[in-house]
Each structure stands twice: as structure tokens, then as C-alpha cells.
């Protein structure tokens, strides 16, 4: 019945219908939220603040310092720690991954340490990081590193291992040295896989950062929601969660979009 009406309105494709249904269900959720809070106060504001309260809190944190920093400040410090962690993971992880594929003995030797990092969840490193670095940027960066490192190594290794031997032979026949083969042939061919690894690392790192900031630190988005818990301010937590979610989506979209520029030779597929 709904569909008939939609079709009369000119919405014919499944895609269009899906959007219509989505808008409908999300609006319903919003209306329910408004009813439960602002309109009828079914739920105490202490437990669930109204949308207007959340927006108000958002505006407040944007303009007034919260625990010393405004919202952009918290965002920047989160991004900074996250950036350091992912950057180090990339700088160490890519060579390690390439070497894993290049030299089986190196791999056998380093593997135990790598598996240790791989199988112990990043959050389990928080207490160790705190013990080593105290409440500094390095603590959070280390947790981000641990979260980001494995996927970079695994995907770099896969990428190199998958490069067809025929390319390598072709390069050899053309007289390229090992290093040049690596640089000119193998790395470009492995780049898409390495990129995939980086992408996973970037989002894993972001997730881990939040965890690290919840536990230690005096700034950052994770700290902000922890502070919201401390002050029993659900609105602050909401602002934090929404910001974290939006930034996560934004980062992932950016990474996806840049792929075309970074790897122009990769066919744009799927």
C-alpha cells in the first residue's frame, strides 16, 4: 500500500523506495525521541536529554571551553594522537610487511612478537602504556599503534606475496636490480592491498583511540564523554558520541575518495 502511494508519487526504483522508507523510519525515531523527552517527559532528562538539550550542549561546547578546551580543541588533540599512532604504524608496518613476504626467515623470527601484538586486544595495552608513558600523548598513540599495526603488516605482506612472479621475472630480464624491482614493480603492484591495510588501520586506530582516551588523559573526545559520565551529563556524552561517529565516517570517506588520486592505476571497482 505504501509502495503504491510511492509509485504514484513517482518513486519507482528500489533505491528510491529504500530512501523513502529510511527517511520515514528515522523521522519516526526522532519523533519518538521528542515525544519521550520534550513533549510528554516520559523519560527524565537526567536519563535521556531532549534533542534541543543535546543541540544546546553542542553549541555550548563549541563556544565555551569544556575542561579547558572548546570542541574543536578536543577534536584536534584526538586527531593528533590518532595521527601519530597511525603514522608510526604505517612507517614501521609497511616495511615489516614487505619484508615478511620478501624474506621467510625474517618472518619466522619476527612472527612471535607480531602475533603477540595481533592477538592481544589493543585495549589490553592501555595499562602498560600508562605505566610506560604516563598520561601523555605517547600513551594514546601507542594504543592506536597497536590497533593499527597488524592490519598494515598483514595486508602489505599479502600484497607483495600476490604480485605475480611473472612481473618480477620480467623486471629481472629487463636488468633491474632487486631494489629497483621492489621499488618499480612490486610496490606499485602491492599498493592497493597496502592501501586496504591502511584503511582498516585508520578505522581500527580511531576506535582504539576512543578507548584510550576514556581511560587516561585530560583532553580529547574520549575524555569528553568520560567527563560527561563523571558529571552525569548524558547530553555531553551524546555530543561526544555523535562527534566521534561523524568524524569516523568523515575519515573513512576521505580515505576512500583519496584512493583514486593515490593509486590512479587501480581500476575503480566495487
Amino acid at each position: 500500500m505504501i509502495e503504491k502511494r510511492l509509485e504514484r508519487m513517482g518513486v519507482m526504483t528500489d533505491r528510491g523506495k529504500a530512501t523513502a522508507y529510511g527517511i520515514f523510519s528515522l523521522s519516526l525515531l526522532l519523533i519518538l525521541w521528542i515525544c519521550a523527552t520534550s513533549l510528554f517527559q516520559w523519560i527524565e532528562p537526567r536519563v535521556l536529554p531532549s534533542p534541543t538539550r543535546v543541540i544546546g550542549q553542542f553549541a555550548w561546547i563549541l563556544t565555551e571551553p569544556f575542561s579547558g578546551l572548546r570542541l574543536p580543541g578536543h577534536i584536534l588533540s584526538s586527531l593528533e594522537r590518532w595521527g601519530w599512532g597511525v603514522l608510526t604504524a604505517g612507517l614501521i608496518g609497511i616495511p615489516v610487511g614487505v619484508f615478511f613476504a620478501w624474506n621467510p626467515w625474517f618472518r619466522t623470527f619476527v612472527n612471535p612478537v607480531f602475533e603477540l601484538i595481533h592477538f592481544i586486544p589493543p585495549f589490553a595495552y592501555i595499562p602498560l602504556a600508562v605505566l610506560w608513558f604516563g598520561a601523555s600523548t605517547a600513551t594514546q598513540a601507542m594504543v592506536v599503534f597497536v590497533a593499527a599495526f597488524p592490519s598494515i603488516v598483514i595486508n602489505s605482506q599479502l600484497g607483495v606475496a600476490q604480485v605475480e612472479k611473472i612481473y618480477i621475472d620480467a623486471a629481472r630480464v629487463l636488468g633491474a636490480s632487486q631494489l629497483r624491482t621492489l621499488w618499480r614493480v612490486i610496490l606499485p603492484a602491492a599498493a592497493p592491498s597496502i592501501y586496504t591495510g591502511l584503511r582498516i588501520a585508520i578505522s581500527n586506530g580511531w576506535m582504539a583511540l576512543v578507548g584510550a582516551e576514556l581511560v587516561v588523559g585530560k583532553v580529547g573526545l574520549g575524555f569528553m564523554i568520560a567527563q560527561g559520565q563523571e558529571n552525569a551529563s548524558v547530553a555531553t556524552i551524546f555530543v561526544g558520541i555523535i562527534t566521534i561517529g561523524c568524524l569516523g565516517v568523515l575519515i573513512d570517506t576521505l580515505v576512500q575518495r583519496t584512493e583514486r588520486f593515490v593509486l590512479p592505476w587501480r581500476k575503480v571497482a566495487s
Binding site: 529504500a18 523510519s25 612471535p112 592481544i120 586486544p121 585495549f123 589490553a124
Partner: protein, 263 residues
């Protein structure tokens, strides 16, 4: 073939041993790494044995382990109870997907951990806060992979079932749900990984027992050896549980682990 495999295993063991030796050498009394930052292997082992028998911050190690397992398995199991049927239903009835999926997409980018402060505010620091965070962490992989499991079923199988007289309900229960099983086993593994890692963080933040709780207390008390015991246990239990799930594939979906026979 077999010989090279034995060689590989031997080399792997050798590497592990080598690292333990390096570790022992670095942390030897008067060595370059102070044990405050990183304890010696024998200290860690001694602490492990001791914690197994005597309580550390309230419980013995087995009890801490049980506390962690209880939370993680409850959250993971509840997420399965919701995620599998919902995921399959969403893939099967596109209207349900159109209605539910947008909300799900809204929640998905939020790291599961970000819900911890909220659940603590709403539910207190009891088990239910941790269970619900673990639940959220496990729900995403359960649901996404259940949907994927249905989508990846060859349409031809559904056509074949139709021509054999099966109705929609029969196709759903007999063809779709069974064919999806191997993917669901993979989903179980991913969901557990996500649940386990989230639980550790949740225990660091709000718990009175459990391995994460041990780790954070050890860190505050500067008991590095205890901290390492906790971290190792977290890693080993994670590997163990995912391994167990892998084994269930043999009896849940035996067809998916057979090699194709050629003639």
C-alpha cells in the same frame, strides 16, 4: 611437503625460544631494561603460578577469568540471538531492511567503547553495563555477516528449490539458513573478537573482577609482572575461543570443510 612443514614448526618454536632468551637477557638483574618497566620471564611465570592459587585484588586468576568469560559470552550470545535472525530477516525481506538499516547505519560508526560512559550512567557499574557494551560490539559483526551470508547464496539454489516445489518459508528455513551456516561460523568468530576486545576496555573502566580489571589495577600498583600475566591470559583466551569456534564448523557445516574430489 610434510618435511618442510615440520621445519616450519621447528623454526617457529625456535623463534619463540629466541625471543624468550632475548627477553630474559634484557631484563636480567642489572640488565638494560629495568623490571619496573618490563619484568623478567621467570617473574611473570612465578606470578602466574601464585595468582592461580592466591587471590589478587579479590579473586584468584581462574575466578577473574570466569568473570570475564561470563560477561563476554553473555553479551556475545545475546547479540547472536538478536543479530542472526534480524540479519537474515533483513536480507530476506527487503522492506524490513529499508526500515531498520538506516538506524543501524547511524549507530555503526560509533566505536562500541564510546557507549561505555552512557551504559554506566544508565545501568550503573554492574554486570549489565558491561554486558550491554559487549552486546553492541558483537551485534554489528553478527548482523552484517548474517546479511552477507544470505546475500552470498547463489540465486540459482533458490530457483532450484522453487522448481522442486518449496514455498518461501521452506526455502528460508531449509536452503537459506543451512547454506548460510559456514558464513555464520565466520561471523561468530569476528563477533567474538570484537566482543572480547571491547570487554577488556570495559573492565578497565568499570568492573570489580575480570582480566581487564586485574590489568588496570596492576598498572596502578606498578605490578608489571601481574600486568603481563593478565595481558597474556587475555591473548591466550582470545585465541582459544576463536579456535573453538573454528572447530565447531566441522560439525555445524561439515560440507564446507571438505576438499573437492576430482575424478
Amino acid at each position: 611437503m610434510d618435511q618442510s612443514r615440520t621445519l616450519q614448526v621447528a623454526a617457529g618454536l625456535g623463534a619463540v625460544l629466541a625471543w624468550i632468551v632475548i627477553w630474559a637477557w634484557l631484563t636480567r638483574p642489572g640488565g638494560p631494561v629495568p623490571t619496573l618497566y618490563f619484568p623478567a620471564p621467570d617473574d611473570v611465570w612465578a606470578k602466574f603460578v601464585r595468582m592461580w592459587q592466591r587471590p589478587y585484588i579479590g579473586s584468584t586468576l581462574p575466578n577473574h577469568i570466569l568473570a570475564s568469560l561470563y560477561i563476554v559470552l553473555t553479551g556475545w550470545g545475546l547479540a547472536a540471538l538478536v543479530g542472526i535472525p534480524l540479519g537474515i530477516a533483513m536480507a530476506w525481506w527487503k522492506r524490513l531492511k529499508w526500515i531498520v538499516f538506516p538506524t543501524f547505519q547511524l549507530i555503526r560508526p560509533v566505536p562500541p567503547l564510546a557507549w561505555i560512559p552512557l551504559t554506566i550512567l544508565w545501568l550503573g557499574i554492574g554486570d549489565s553495563a558491561r554486558i550491554s557494551v559487549v552486546f553492541i560490539a558483537a551485534l554489528v559483526p553478527w548482523l552484517m555477516n548474517s546479511m552477507l551470508a544470505v546475500y552470498s547464496i547463489d540465486r540459482l539454489l533458490l530457483d532450484a528449490a522453487k522448481t522442486l516445489g518449496a514455498n518461501d518459508r521452506q526455502i528460508l528455513t531449509r536452503v537459506v539458513c543451512r547454506t548460510a551456516l559456514p558464513t555464520l561460523v565466520a561471523a561468530a568468530r569476528m563477533a567474538l573478537g570484537s566482543a572480547w576486545s571491547t570487554l577488556v576496555a570495559a573492565e578497565i573502566l568499570a568492573a570489580t573482577a575480570g582480566l581487564g580489571y586485574v590489568a588496570v589495577n596492576a598498572s596502578q600498583l606498578l605490578d608489571t609482572d601481574v600486568l603481563l600475566v593478565a595481558m597474556f591470559m587475555i591473548g591466550i583466551l582470545g585465541i582459544g575461543m576463536t579456535g573453538l569456534i573454528g572447530l565447531t564448523q566441522n560439525w555445524l557445516a561439515p560440507w564446507s570443510v571438505l576438499g573437492a574430489r576430482r575424478d
